[in-house]
């Protein structure tokens, strides 16, 4: 289905002076306009298939690492995909993956706030965490040898990532698991690149300290 010309074509002046109200409310917005009022068209679906579906794996992986389990991750991804579908006309240019992951991330945190209000570290607390980290640097005080790091097994690695504070975890997952660049991570997480760098370094530092511990 094409929407070309939808704005310029006028209904032929027929026996009705004007179309009935239920027909007049229709306006197909151009790209970038508020898509919330838009009707769904086949183009939306095509675009969704091109923009969103290729990143379903990344979307799921991110949701999985944020929520911590499969079932919740799938709920989040499905919800996020519906949001992305409704907003698909708002996607213009840039990294489709970053756009999708941004929606997934926001959806995941909304979901967590609703379903696990007590368990999650509030984002406000994060600055405190980061500041404390920056001051004491205790987690990074222990600096195991690289050879020790290489011995960690999958279960231990997974547990160590899961134990990271959320902002560190998401930065690390986006970079080291999903391979996003700093700029994309900044876009997805809504913080400056400098903050991305600092979170990433601290997340890695904690991870290295945890998995490098011999008795852990």
């Amino acid at each position: 289905m094409t929407v070309a010309g939808a704005d310029t074509d006028r209904p032929p002046s027929g026996r009705r002076e004007r179309p009935p109200d239920h027909l007049r409310i229709v306006s197909l917005p151009a790209q970038g306009q508020d898509a919330k009022t838009a009707m769904v068209t086949g183009d939306d679906r095509t675009r969704f298939a091109q923009v969103v579906l290729p990143h379903l794996g990344d979307a799921y992986a991110l949701a999985r690492w944020i929520t911590g389990n499969r079932a919740d991750a799938e709920d989040v991804v499905q919800d996020a995909c519906l949001r992305a579908f409704r907003a698909i006309r708002g996607y213009a240019d840039g990294s489709a993956r970053a756009w999708v992951l941004t929606i997934v991330r926001n959806t995941a945190y909304t979901w967590l706030a609703k379903n696990r209000p007590a368990a999650e570290v509030a984002m406000d607390d994060l600055e405190a965490v980061e500041t404390a980290q920056a001051v004491s640097g205790d987690a990074e005080a222990m600096t195991p040898e690289a050879t020790l790091i290489a011995e960690a097994d999958a279960a231990r690695l997974t547990a160590a990532i899961a134990a990271l504070p959320t902002p560190f975890r998401e930065a690390l997952v986006l970079r080291d698991v999903q391979g996003l660049g700093y700029r994309e991570i900044a876009e997805v997480t809504g913080v400056p690149i400098g903050t991305v760098m600092s979170r990433l370094a601290r997340g890695r530092g904690r991870l290295i300290a945890t998995i490098g511990r011999k008795d852990a």
Binding site: R15, G57, V77, L82, T158
Partner: protein
């Protein structure tokens, strides 16, 4: 990355270097610092070891095929679970009305029936989407039939089958092969049936033939120069019954 970064922590630069985020000049500078500073060199080795570990040993998280199917269904790319609703129908009417407005109906060039089938099924699925609350409905064929006037020159055959438990619920314009075509919508219990009427060669007449596409039953027949495509998730027997009723009904006008 060409911007100068606050170098309060040279470790950050090591991470950025390993991540390939530094421009050549900065990368060279960091390489030199690493070479000169054993602590930075150790950090570099640790991060490299960690990255290798994450690459090689971390289990990949992949979504289940069921998730993808659910999502595709939810956005109407597959058979959705949603109940058909008036809103969906109304939205579809509104969208297609705009798309078709001002266009001239032309006889369709013959096209492969597979493409037509895909188009009518897609149009039906669109009708099941419910993005907008719009108030439009008519079970009166004397309302539905004139509705097409002025939108397309073709006057669709509209039959009221309410007595046979196939009440007419409205009409819409669909686009098949880039042409606006009339579609009638009937309800059978909780299911909607889309009946698309396409122009066919004069004198064409053929009995119903049933196919499935995307989980929908699609029944096609033609009569008097019109090819009818009925799409629904009702059972094949119900759809055949609908087609038989429609074909044999006497237009009383």
């Amino acid at each position: 990355m060409t911007r100068s970064m606050s170098p309060e922590d040279p470790k950050l630069l090591v991470h950025a270097y390993l991540d390939g985020e530094l421009d050549p000049a900065n990368a060279l500078a960091v390489e030199q610092r690493i070479a000169a500073d054993p602590a930075l060199a150790a950090e570099c080795r640790r991060v490299e070891a960690l990255q290798q570990l994450l690459r090689e040993r971390l289990p990949r998280e992949t979504p289940s095929p069921a998730l993808r199917a659910r999502i595709e269904a939810a956005v109407g790319m597959r058979r959705p679970r949603a109940q058909p609703s008036w809103r969906a129908l109304a939205a579809s009417i509104a969208v297609t009305a705009v798309l078709a407005s001002g266009t001239t109906f032309l006889a369709l060039a013959p096209q492969p029936t597979d493409e037509v089938r895909e188009a009518v099924v897609a149009a039906h699925i669109r009708a099941l989407m419910a993005p907008q609350p719009i108030d439009v409905a008519s079970s009166d064929r004397h309302t539905v039939k004139p509705w097409f006037n002025g939108r397309i020159p073709q006057a669709p055959r509209v039959i009221d089958l309410a007595k046979a438990d196939f009440p007419l619920v409205g009409g819409r314009l669909d686009v098949v092969g880039r042409k606006a075509v009339p579609t009638l919508v009937y309800r059978h219990r909780q299911h909607l049936i889309s009946l698309v009427e396409l122009p066919a060669a004069e004198g064409t007449s053929s009995g119903p033939s049933l196919r499935t596409a995307g989980g929908y039953n699609v029944l096609r027949w033609s009569a008097d120069g019109v090819a009818y495509w009925a799409v629904s998730d009702v059972g094949a027997a119900d759809l055949r019954q609908f087609a038989d009723l429609f074909r044999t009904a006497q237009p009383d006008q």
